[in-house]
Symmetry: C2
Subunit: 387 residues, 2 copies
């Protein structure tokens, strides 16, 4: 079975849609969140735990895996699925973003980009053709074109230059991609310039990819700009192809992304914040290390169906974090990921039932506040409910 | 059901015995290894994983839990079993060893021992009575008397003084212990002096405890002395009560302890070495970070039935350790603990079948070598078998 995408139901009030994304390893419900397993593991978790949490597809990263352990080792071990023991679909990012954010001494030319490894300083050269070949050898089910991803900038000349090169590289990626059963997505760039975003989406659309990633957002620009650029981009992408917003993963941002017609998301945020002791609840993020949690006998989120919430009290999690026991990071990761996965399931269900807007508003009213008064009222509700 | 111990079968050639230890939470096969969960968790693992590994009883530590999170919090949360979500038996150590090894500014008097916390420098005072009360509030199934555990010393006067105080403290512990369904074990001391070891074992035996711990060994003394002192001690303990050798847990030491009549062991060694990337195999410990493992497609121990060995290759473990992914420490901990638990199961089976000596000799011939020639031959066998 190859790659295909079907819109099951659109939301009448927003751009949101409930869909079904078919890959060579099964059909996935969208909108969908992909946890980040850049280096071949979703930090702290086993494949069995990911499945129990409801994860359908994980993200691998070409830059990381190329540097360590090396593509030839993964290939020798039977490909990325077998190496990490995950038999569900995998999406690999091309590593463009990592080359432009993690690596040092970058030199970009039309041919490709040279850089030094952030691990050992060794020199490397990525071309669009090499990055496709590496992803073919990894064997992911969805792969990405090589993009030039400049940092957040207000210099439209620089952003245009990178965008146009990204388009030429996308074409080269498309020309050399051979592997059957593997879908290659193009990546839209264009920074925070509406006309560039529209141009990038249109140019890539004309190349006819089976799906489109939206890169270069959430890089530090104001949130309103993020959503404005997302809207410009989506308006120029084909309606019937999946759209993947890269690097977005907070509960509030996922709602905004889905409302604007995004089908796929990935982000390290839920797992990274978990390891920092910041746990998602319907009433906002809670810092588990706060002294007030030291003797609470409830789960961190009484409405949650995850292993952590079913098994342990807030007091125990608080203690594990204070003791720096590695189990702490794991239990928090399970909860935060499940919170996000369940939220996506609820969004999809709401789209199917025509109540997406209602869900979004009621969730965000509880979760997200901006003024101090609301924040205090929220705190009070939290204390009344669980305190 | 209260505490009782039955010898199911003694080994005809050694002091080893296969037994059954009954606690208020079920009957356990002995010899048995207890993983260390000093601070309320066996580092990195959930209760479900411990059960899957074959763990029957875990160790908690009064010193650690008293300092953090505090006994009143655990009591408020319903006791240690509920706090850590472990419904099997728990043995709590009194914390005597930790006061004498981790805490600072100790002052010992007949009344008790004052010390400063290794966490925040706060001052505390442990008496035999307090330590029993704390353990009653924690609610472990087997608890320990407060002992004075001096460092390894060749000054018999000092060691005698600590030992005699340990005996008086043991009596005070026994007098004040009230909680039903909780067995209080005495702790033998006496350093590396045969006459003190015999005296300590005899004095404690005369007090009539339901079980006896052997403390103050494996503190840096030569191994021959460890085993000689163990023999002196066991010779003066009642035959029909369980014996618990504290702080011993390497595969080779477990064989030596079992051969000398020990029924219970605990040690942080299997879990600590796992987190350092040192994995047990029938051919000795292997450093998973060694470059030769980078592309091995086999489990670290092809004969092992643990989750790690069933699921992942050596190459993947090597990669996780190199990437410092927390999953690495967890998978290694699962393997090392299962290796030890399975070894104990094999020892018990061999005692039942009258083949303990054979098992010990064949295991140690592979696992433990002292001269370089044997080590090289062993390496060769390892490479032939799995290389």
């Amino acid at each position: 079975m190859g790659h295909s995408f079907k819109i099951v139901k659109p939301c009448p009030q927003t751009q949101a849609r409930a869909g079904a994304l078919s890959t060579s390893r099964g059909t996935l419900p969208t909108p969908l969140f992909l946890p980040v397993g850049s280096q071949g593991a979703v930090k702290t978790l086993t494949p069995e735990e990911l499945k129990a949490i409801g994860v359908k597809m994980v993200l691998g990263n070409t830059y990381h895996l190329y540097l360590r352990p090396g593509i030839e080792i993964i290939e020798k071990l039977g490909g990325l699925h077998r190496f990490i023991s995950w038999d569900g679909p995998i999406l690999t990012d091309s590593g463009g973003y990592q080359v432009f954010s993690l690596a040092s001494l970058r030199r970009v030319s039309e041919e490709g980009v040279s850089f030094r490894s952030h691990i050992d300083g060794s020199e490397h050269f990525f071309t669009p053709e090499l990055v496709i070949q590496l992803q073919e050898r990894l064997g992911g089910d969805i792969i990405m074109t090589l993009d030039e991803c400049p940092p957040y900038s207000t210099d439209s000349g620089l952003v245009r230059e990178a965008m146009e090169r990204t388009h030429r590289w996308a074409e080269r990626c498309q020309r050399c991609h051979r592997r059957e059963g593997q879908a290659l997505y193009g990546i839209v760039q264009g920074g925070v310039f509406p006309e560039l975003r529209r141009e990038s989406a249109s140019v890539l659309s004309s190349l006819g990819f089976p799906g489109y990633a939206i890169g270069g957002l959430s890089l530090g620009e104001p949130k309103e700009l993020t959503w404005a650029m997302l809207e410009e981009t989506v308006a120029c992408l084909p309606q019937d192809k999946p759209r993947y917003l890269m690097g977005v993963g907070s509960p509030e941002d996922l709602f905004e992304g889905v409302a604007r017609g995004v089908d796929l998301f990935d982000s390290a945020l839920p797992t990274r914040t978990a390891r920092n002791g910041s746990l998602f609840t319907p009433l906002g993020r809670q810092d588990i290390q706060n002294a007030r949690y030291k003797d609470w006998d409830e789960p961190i989120d009484p409405g949650c169906d995850c292993y952590t919430c079913h098994t342990f009290s807030v007091a125990y999690l608080h203690h594990l974090f204070k003791s720096k026991d590695l189990l702490a990071y794991r239990l928090a990761t399970i909860h935060n990921l499940r919170f996000i996965l369940k939220l996506m399931e609820q969004m999809r269900q709401a789209i199917l039932e025509g109540s997406f807007i209602t869900l979004k508003e009621s969730f965000l009213a509880d979760y997200q506040t901006t003024d101090e008064e609301t924040r205090l009222a929220q705190k009070q509700r939290w204390l009344e409910r669980f305190g």
